[in-house]
């Protein structure tokens, strides 16, 4: 049974873990465990989990380099797709629960309010990434172009943090914390391009090959 290898088990475990926020939210909703404004809770919680999954997805590359465990890449697509999954739920709560499909109000929001513009931008930018997440699409686009396209996640995450920042009325500490984390994750890539981390990766690689 080649299918049920170590990776299959690990991936299933991560998949189930990614569903926990959804199960938890559903449970709280059904048991009346949300606040007096449950629709707002649903909207806020799907929103914050979108941002968390974007951060997790962006952590994979730095983590691979730091831990010297390149196989972490196997989880990246799943984390990214879960970011899209929570973003989609979040978007639906806005369109349905907040605006009740009132196109005029939605259009006004999307054209007038930076807070909404940032959120919609963040969501729209990861739609093509979710659509082209399969191996087939990597082949179709070519690795290089596919990779270029998928750098849109940087912009999506920046827009997402801005959206959160503009959502907060007074206490900007949590969105600022996400902003700092994102800056670190992006800086890691910028410096990586300047070959600061390359030698370390090469060393890890050579140790590995020496062991084999």
């Amino acid at each position: 049974m080649p299918k049920f290898n170590r990776w299959w088990i690990l991936k299933s475990a991560v998949f189930l873990a990614c569903l926990v926020p959804m199960v938890w939210l559903t449970w709280d909703t059904l048991t009346g465990n949300l606040s007096a404004n449950p629709l707002e809770d649903i909207r806020d919680r799907t929103g914050i989990w979108t941002l968390r999954f974007l951060m997790l997805t962006l952590s994979i590359t730095p983590l691979r380099r730091i831990t010297g465990w390149p196989a972490l890449i196997r989880f990246r697509r799943m984390l990214g797709l879960f970011a899209f999954f929570y973003a989609f739920l979040h978007f639906i709560t806005y369109i349905w629960l907040d605006q009740f499909f009132a196109l005029d109000a939605i259009l006004e929001d999307i054209t007038k309010r930076p807070f909404i513009i940032a959120g919609v931008t963040s969501f729209v930018l990861i739609i093509p990434l979710a659509m082209t997440s399969t191996r087939k699409w990597i082949g179709r686009l070519g690795g290089k172009r596919w990779q270029m396209l998928h750098r849109l996640i940087y912009l999506s995450a920046i827009a997402g943090v801005l959206h959160y920042f503009w959502r907060v009325k007074l206490d900007i500490r949590p969105p600022v914390a996400y902003g700092v984390l994102l800056a670190v994750l992006l800086a890691f890539r910028a410096f990586g391009r300047l070959n600061i981390f390359k030698p370390q990766v090469a060393r890890v690689g050579s140790e590995k090959s020496a062991l084999q």
Binding site: S35, E40, A105, L170, V176
Partner: protein, 320 residues
């Protein structure tokens, strides 16, 4: 008949007659509605849960709304009181040990009788009234709250402001030892304490303006601004300053805490106005807690008849 009253009982600790009667009336209504009269009369502890039932109360006074009242549980567990934290659940969770006795209110400025009053002296002789008001938060959610209190106008008349007084300024208690939100944080995140609010004198004298000391016929819970707070139902909720310790009569328009924090978003008047949006969201509609769909927000929160004339000729887009 000799009536002896223990001197160590403050009059504020005695349930005002009106509260008492209202409570009886409420139990009657609730128990009829719920058919659990026996249980409730045996177990006074059930009162809060009976109050959280969705009873359709009849409007009693000229200013009362007959809309469905928001359950007690929701009013007391979902609200903003940043002195206890910025989360909606913080006020209920973190205000349990807040001390409201003894309580004094300092009356200052352009007024005939500036002094620091014990709360009982300040409110002596006032009759507690029920006022079932809509409450519209600037964050676009709303409630219907059965307050108990007395008109602010009565208090102002008693204090006799000087003719030069044009505004009245209120301040919340500054007690960082009891209010975690007032403690300086690592990177800030709070308002400039103590919380400050203000009204034009004619607004303060409007019969709708209430000093509330109770909800659902019970003393105001700490998280809702005990022992006394302002209620101005035609304005956004943040105007309703809580746990008042200072009332100052002044000539110039006071600067409220939210004006100071973000003047483009929060003005002095803060009248509910569906046509003037918050920079981040529309004020055209609101979610009434407990309802699935949003409802349209009414001008002056539906109190135009009582308050609109005070703003005649004013540009409400500028004076938001």
């Amino acid at each position: 008949m000799l009536v002896h009253r223990a001197s160590d009982i403050l009059s504020s600790e005695i349930t005002p007659e009106r509260i008492y009667h209202n409570r009886r009336e409420f139990i009657k209504t609730a128990s009829t509605a719920l058919g659990t009269a026996a249980v409730i009369s045996i177990l006074p502890g059930c009162m809060s849960s009976s109050a959280s039932g969705t009873v359709q109360n009849k409007a009693k006074g000229p200013y009362d709304t007959d809309e469905k009242q928001t359950p007690y549980e929701d009013i007391t567990t979902y609200n903003n009181y940043y002195e206890f934290g910025t989360d909606k659940s913080d006020p209920a969770a973190k205000s349990k040990n807040f001390k409201t006795k003894p309580w004094t209110v300092s009356v200052e400025g352009l007024v005939k009788k500036p002094a620091t009053y014990a709360l009982d002296d300040l409110i002596k002789g006032f009759t507690m009234e029920d006022r079932i008001y809509r409450m519209r938060c600037v964050e676009a959610w709303s409630m219907v709250i059965p307050w108990m209190g007395f008109p602010l106008a009565e208090l102002i008349k008693r204090l006799e402001p000087a003719p030069a007084a044009k505004y009245v300024e209120f301040k919340t208690i500054l007690a960082p030892d009891q209010m975690p939100g007032q403690r300086p944080g690592l990177f800030g995140g709070g308002l400039d304490w103590p919380y400050t609010e203000g009204l034009r004198l004619d607004e303060a004298m409007n019969p709708l303006a209430l000093i509330a000391m109770g909800i659902y016929g019970k003393p105001l819970p700490n998280q809702n601004g005990a022992p006394l707070r302002l209620v101005t139902p035609w304005k956004y909720g943040f105007k309703g300053i809580k746990s008042i310790v200072k009332i100052r009569f002044v000539e110039k328009q006071p600067v409220s805490s939210w004006m100071e924090a973000w003047p483009q978003a929060y003005g002095f008047y803060a009248n509910v106005n569906p046509q003037v949006d918050h920079p981040r969201w529309s004020q055209a509609s609101e979610r009434r807690l407990g309802e699935f769909y949003k409802r349209r927000t009414l001008m002056f929160n539906g109190y135009a008849e009582q308050v609109a004339q005070m703003y005649a000729g004013m540009d409400l887009r500028k004076n938001y």
